[in-house]
Amino acid sequence: MIKWKLTMQLFWYRILMQIGLKGEEIYYIGGSEALPPPLNREEEEHLLDRLPSGDTAVRAMLIERNLRLVVYIARKFENTGINIEDLVSIGTIGLIKAVNTFDPSKKIKLATYASRCIENEILMFLRRNNKIRSEVSFDEPLNMDWDGNELLLSDVMGTENDIICRNIEEQVDRKILRVALMRLSERERKIMELRFGLNGGEEKTQKDVADMLGISQSYISRLEKRIIKRLRKEFNKMV
């Protein structure tokens, strides 16, 4: 009797698939009572016997009648931050994989195998998702101040003076700066050396430098701005 019923159901599946008719049913993930009922042992055995023949109606029925498993397992992962719609969709992919790769000769229950496949599919997705989330660029902006300057991860994570890359960069910058300084007049160079302690000396204030050279502080300020502008121009030419 069950076999006859199943054969009729499979026949109905085939007709639906061939003529493209769609049912009016609405399926609710939240309430699995609206989903097709699970297969009983006899029904499952009958369908699994026919699974290796590649009958699409058999495959479709096995997938559809195990969808409650997908919902049940997906809901266990609701606290992972992944949308339940995505979880159910991923679980459905896992179920399709399970039915397509199930080997009835191994004598394990389809529900057991499918549960593992569905759970594994979701876990693999979560692992992959977490991996992508944990890969962050050193130049990832963490925050922005009122002036629009970005605070980068590298600003807060660097080692002491960023021993590797920054050291090389600094060496190159220093070399370029030295060449640029050679293009200044002797007085201009002296001002820069005193102000910024370029020859290993102490950094002096504009007032100190002004006193040493016997000129006013405002003149030093103007000169400094002009020299820096010129240095920047020389710098850019070389970079």
């Binding site: 008719l21 769609k22 993930i29 309430g31 989903l35 969709s89 459905t92 997705f125």
Partner: protein
């Protein structure tokens, strides 16, 4: 009942008209897409697309169910 009486049915994954495939919850998945889904790993670029398209099987907006 939605009548679409032709030999070709629209696949919910590739959205093309196809002849052969499976019907799950009244939605059609063509044979090529089914095979591709089975052979696609979560690491593959196309996986996200399958996750998105497979949501079409579940016709009810499930977010309402959990809110």
């Amino acid at each position: 009942m939605q009548n679409n009486i032709t030999d070709q049915i629209r696949c919910i994954v590739c959205e093309k008209e196809c002849q052969e495939g499976i019907t799950v919850l009244a939605e059609f998945i063509c044979r090529d897409c089914e095979a591709e889904i089975v052979n696609t790993d979560v690491k593959d670029k196309k996986y996200a697309y399958f996750v998105l398209q497979m949501k079409n099987i579940w016709t009810q907006d499930i977010s309402d169910q959990f809110s």
